[in-house]
């Protein structure tokens, strides 16, 4: 009769030990670092005690015994030199960590790619992606400068582009004002990932915000006000910008000057609710007057809305955009729409470094569209991203692209299949 209780107790003992073992970190390296940190703290305490004793013994009439490092308020007057010494040491450390102005920081993003398609007349091969240099410099506690310059490989050399170039004044969390060239706050992607391919899950940007594309005015030259809106747990923020709008080439913002006397404006409102950490939703409106080099002028309205969940497991991005063009002379109106939805999921293995993803894109353009080149398309991409380190990733992606048949019997283009391999990194 006694055997079972004994056996039960032994089993419990082993189970308890095993369960405890499961809770503790398994990495030897981590344990070693922890031990070293503990050792550093112990040594710090010893140094502080030695300093205290030294100062106390140097002070006239001070007791020989070591003075407490953190004396109680009722401590004897002889500990004053200790406090002064500690304060001086702290001030030295603070000075070392304080930001010196200007404090220039340079970071780069780059990628190397391989692509192969079944499109007739194209060849497979390697190519260098975008080399993107980002500069951030605090000029004072409230003024900072940001710049982003890209280098893109061309058949005869490299195309250099100043993507962003702005100075920002922070008054407080509710009002920050920038001047210069910035990414137009339309939708989500354009102001979240900019030009660093490493930052985005996929190999490329969605068609509606494609760099060099026309659907969204990617850049604006002018000013931008931004900040939080006191809204409690709703987490509201805003952007409001005024700038030159589209230039003579509608994909460019008119860096050297506006093409007409009309300023474009953009307003964006978005929320990051406190109770749903990872969720962001927002909408924006953009207004401009387009003057094409051939003469016609158009009023442009762009409406966009988005919903994102960016915790990684899962990741969801969804964005919709409507572009309305009205010919000022004829009042002819055209509405083009585009949207994408992207899903990703960081798998729980390999320290969550593997993320499969899928994106669907759709662009609708009516034949009456006169500002954009006619490019209706449907696209699906599926891929896998593997973060080989904290700052480098491999991406493998399959893409299927079709231009759908539109109104008026316009024939669809042949479908295109492509495979991409990319390594993207930051340095």
């Amino acid at each position: 009769m006694m055997r079972r209780p004994w056996f039960f107790m032994m089993a419990m003992l082993f189970a308890a030990s095993f369960a405890n073992g499961q809770d503790t970190p398994v990495s030897d390296q981590a344990e070693q670092i922890k031990a070293l940190l503990a050792r550093v703290e112990l040594l710090e305490k010893q140094v502080a005690e030695l300093k205290a004793a030294q100062v106390a013994s140097a002070a006239p009439g001070a007791p020989a015994a070591a003075t407490p490092v953190n004396p109680a308020p009722s401590a004897q007057p002889s500990v004053q030199p200790v406090r002064e010494s500690q304060t001086q040491t702290a001030q030295e450390k603070v000075r070392q960590l304080e930001t010196q102005y200007p404090s220039l920081q340079i970071r780069g993003f780059a990628d190397a790619d391989f692509s192969a398609t079944d499109q007739k007349g194209t060849v497979s091969g390697f190519n260098l992606g975008e080399l993107d240099l980002h500069v951030a410099s605090a000029l004072s506690r409230k003024i900072s400068y940001f710049a982003e310059v890209t280098f893109n490989a061309q058949p005869t050399g490299y195309a250099v582009e100043v993507e962003r170039n702005l100075i920002r004044y922070d008054y407080n969390d509710y009002f920050k004002l920038s001047f210069g060239r910035y990414h137009t706050p339309i939708g989500y992607w354009n102001t979240t990932f900019h030009h660093g391919t490493w930052l985005q899950t996929t190999v490329d940007r969605p068609n509606l915000v494609m760099d060099g594309g026309t659907f969204t005015p990617i850049h604006t030259v002018g000013f931008l006000a931004e900040g939080n809106i006191p809204s409690g747990g709703l987490g509201l923020s805003y952007n409001f910008g005024v700038g030159n709008g589209r230039g003579a080439l509608i994909e460019r913002p008119g860096d050297a000057g506006d093409i007409n006397n009309n300023r474009a404006w953009v307003a964006k409102l978005f929320a990051r609710p406190a109770k749903a950490y990872g969720l962001e939703l927002g909408g924006s409106v953009y207004r401009d007057k387009i003057t094409l080099p051939t003469g016609p002028e158009y009023r442009e309205w762009i409406y966009s809305a988005y919903l994102t969940w960016t915790k990684g497991a899962p990741e969801f991005l969804g964005e919709f955009e409507n572009v309305n063009h009205r010919n000022i002379a004829t009042n002819a109106v055209a509405n083009s729409d585009a949207f994408y939805t992207q899903f990703g999921y960081r798998l729980p293995w390999f320290e969550r470094s593997v993320k499969p993803y899928y994106r669907f894109e759709y662009t609708h353009m009516p034949l009456s569209e006169q500002v954009f080149a006619y490019q209706p398309r449907v696209e699906s991409i599926a891929g896998l991203r593997y973060d080989i380190s904290s700052f480098a990733a491999f991406k493998l992606e399959y893409r299927h692209l079709a231009s759908h048949a539109a109104q008026g019997g316009n024939p669809a283009q042949p479908a295109l299949n492509a495979v991409f391999l990319q390594t993207a990194f930051t340095f």
Binding site: A136, Y171, R352
Partner: protein, 165 residues
């Protein structure tokens, strides 16, 4: 001297009753003893923050205590317990995601730098004491007397439902 099976059983039983309390004391300390306090510089005009507000501050979404006092984020180096708790409860990120988050944040032009890294509790205490607007996570066992500890969701370290543990 020979031992019978009964003696061995008795020995194991005594060992069991001795070991379990030692085990509990050494590795299973009360979770309340391991709470992580949110400590701020004395001049920082906050006494009580909601957990969501602490998250907002440490995510860099709230960068000013008021128009004249910017937030200075301090965070312990990797492997420190305070950092583990911050990543698990506040950021809900892995170490890699945390690094990527700040690279992206700087790249977007939302901040000019990541939180300052500190390598020991003493240094952290000195910096919080000396830098106006500083805020840091400190193991509640290492909070120095006189340090300004902020309530989180109205609770202090040691309280029953304190969220940072």
């Amino acid at each position: 001297m020979t031992y019978t099976l009964k003696d061995v059983r008795a020995f194991l039983a005594v060992g069991f009753f001795l070991l379990v309390p030692i085990h509990n004391f050494s590795s299973g300390q009360s979770s309340r003893d391991r709470d992580v306090a949110v400590v701020v510089n004395d001049d920082t005009p906050v006494d009580d923050l909601g957990l969501a507000e602490v998250r907002k501050v440490f995510l860099g979404e709230r960068q000013y205590w008021n128009a004249k006092l910017p937030v200075v984020l301090l965070i312990r180096a990797p492997v420190a317990r305070e950092r583990d708790v911050a990543l698990r409860v506040i950021y809900q990120m892995t170490e890699t995601q945390f690094k990527q988050y700040w690279v992206a944040k700087i790249f977007r032009g939302e901040v000019t730098g990541p939180p300052r890294i500190v390598y020991s509790n003493d240094l952290q205490y000195e910096l919080v004491s000396a830098m106006p607007g500083a805020i840091a996570f400190v193991d509640s066992r290492n909070v120095h007397p006189g340090a300004k500890v902020v309530r989180v969701d109205g609770m202090l370290p040691g309280d029953k439902n304190y969220p940072l543990r």
